[in-house]
Symmetry: C2
Subunit: 343 residues, 2 copies
């Protein structure tokens, strides 16, 4: 096998760039690569694995002779082109929210529910970044002692919004140092030296879509339709990595020691939990790494048998590009990619 | 009555400076003022109410002829000098953690438990900043529908640590813009563009002292010894205002509408809660203001009848200096300040 013909939709974006890195680092078998984006980026030159490629405008014809299409260009583009890519014979791994809750679309974090890939019908959804890192940490616990209730508060970096938000935080930081007024374009209020409890649109019931995604997606990925969960999602002036304070109620009591033992042996997790030595996960330490870091594991002082913990991961990496490539690897390993039409 | 003879211990610190502002703004009746600090600041000139004063080194003699001593110089200084100030006839309002949990020391947030002042024996404790803003918001609810359980995650600004931390965040921000390595002195890890789940020392059980303070002080202030509470306290790269995500369980169901109605009429609170119009509290909006801002009030989607909300206040103001001056005002109003020895 020489490798797969891969298309990256949204190649010029933040996650697009991370796809390049992750595919190269993991030596994913890429035979050919198509870099797709909007017409604004048409003709732009990008380097993948030492070779230069021209970015092409995404069109219905873009997916001929493509085995794997990695989408990360927003829900509108996914809605429009993912079905076409599938019809063209590609398997779609979609990083947007477009299909995540569709019944016939597996929503997969490989460490958690790789088996769900078996039933795919051409589109697989990559979960929301803040959901991914949480379920990676919850799953090893949930398997042995079903989680009943989750209360999560997030500290999400601006990279989750994309390049424009990184530029906005940078620009506002400079404005602040120059004692200029802070100008806002991406966020409603300044994000520099501020904290904004608003991620994605507000819903009727006062939650945001981001919070609802964490609730719905966690239930779907963990196969726990009855799981109770509430989320507060907050943007913080951090460039990379999301952090999460999570309170858990289990079916039976779970001790911090048992939790640490379960997580220490789990795939994709690194327990960083020696507070007396100053060891706990933090955003800067997680940036650029693959693992989901878990620490500050302790008894819930408000409920015997429950736990509180702190979960940190690189949201562009494990929260997006890495998870999608891991899905592609699992599909390959399980022989779930149609390569019959390969040239 | 011409006014009180006031001593400020820690006059050169961040809270000290805020004491000046708040005393002036509120036209607190100050007859004389003594500015006290460590020997390093002896002789420094500070301006209060348009007049210049020399800072003096705090000594056992500093409290002769003082009616009110406002302490904000850390627990060690309070342990050492507060009893002396009391013996000298002053009433001490102490901003440190030194006496907060002492049985004979009222721990007071005037909007919540001003009546506790009646039993004071010369020392009154000002609660921890993150506790104050939370109990301001919880108390009007707790009075009509006792709160059973609180789960709180904080987003605390560096001003809570003091001037050196403000300088550290500023310096690291400049270093980052200059692509220099970030140097750390105050915090264990860089705070610029980072999030650190460590405030005050770690305890044996994995909680920090800051988290334990929020638990213990909330129970004491609300007179709710059985209240269940767990806190995760996190430092964020914000200069002013603490933000808090709070999940509440009540004795009986409480709706968001009832909560809003109760808080809208409550002292010291401003409800900012119209998400569809982009209205919610955030740190920059709260900075420099007196009110505790509450918003994002919604049903707890993990527990019927519970609520989730977002509480923001200026930690140096309501969280420290303002609350202490409000205590002094209440003492004055209730005639609880000994002025018999007044010159």
């Amino acid at each position: 096998m020489k490798g797969y013909r891969v298309a990256i939709v949204g190649a010029t974006g933040l996650v697009g760039a991370e796809f390049f890195k992750v595919l190269e680092e993991r030596l994913f078998p890429v035979a050919e690569i198509s870099l797709l984006a909007s017409d604004r980026s048409e003709g732009k030159e990008l380097t993948f694995a030492g070779r230069k490629y021209l970015v092409q405008e995404t069109s219905p014809d873009s997916f001929r002779n493509i085995d794997i299409a990695l989408f990360s260009a927003g829900a509108d583009i996914s809605h429009r082109f993912a079905p076409i890519a599938r019809e063209s014979g590609a398997v779609v791994i979609d990083n947007s929210a477009a299909f995540r809750m569709a019944e016939d679309v597996p929503l997969v974090v490989p460490e958690v529910n790789a088996d769900d890939l078996a039933s795919h019908r051409g589109i697989i959804a990559n979960p929301n970044c803040s959901t991914i890192q949480m379920v990676v940490a919850l799953s090893p616990l949930h398997r042995v002692n079903p989680i009943q209730r989750v209360i999560v508060t997030t500290f999400q970096s601006v990279s989750g919004t994309g390049t424009a938000a990184i530029e906005e935080l940078t620009a506002q930081t400079k404005q602040w140092l120059n004692k200029d007024e802070l100008t806002t374009h991406v966020y409603r209020h300044p994000i520099a030296f501020n904290v904004l409890p608003e991620i994605d649109a507000f819903l009727e019931d006062g939650y945001t879509k981001e919070e609802r995604k964490m609730e719905d997606e966690t239930r779907k990925i963990l196969h726990a339709p009855g799981l109770k969960i509430t989320a507060t999602c907050v943007r913080v002036p951090v460039f990379a990595s999301h952090s999460e304070a999570v309170t858990l109620e289990f079916s039976r009591p779970m001790s911090p020691a048992e939790c640490r033992a379960l997580l220490s042996g789990a795939s994709g997790i690194r327990v960083v939990d020696d507070p007396s030595a100053g060891l706990y996960p933090h955003a800067r330490a997680a940036a650029g790494t693959d693992d989901t870091l878990v620490g500050r594991i302790r008894d819930d002082s408000s409920r015997p048998g429950g736990l509180v913990m702190w979960i940190v991961a690189d949201n562009v990496r494990k929260g997006a590009a890495l998870n999608a490539v891991q899905i592609a690897e699992e599909l390959s390993r399980r022989d779930l990619i149609k390569v019959g039409d390969r040239k």
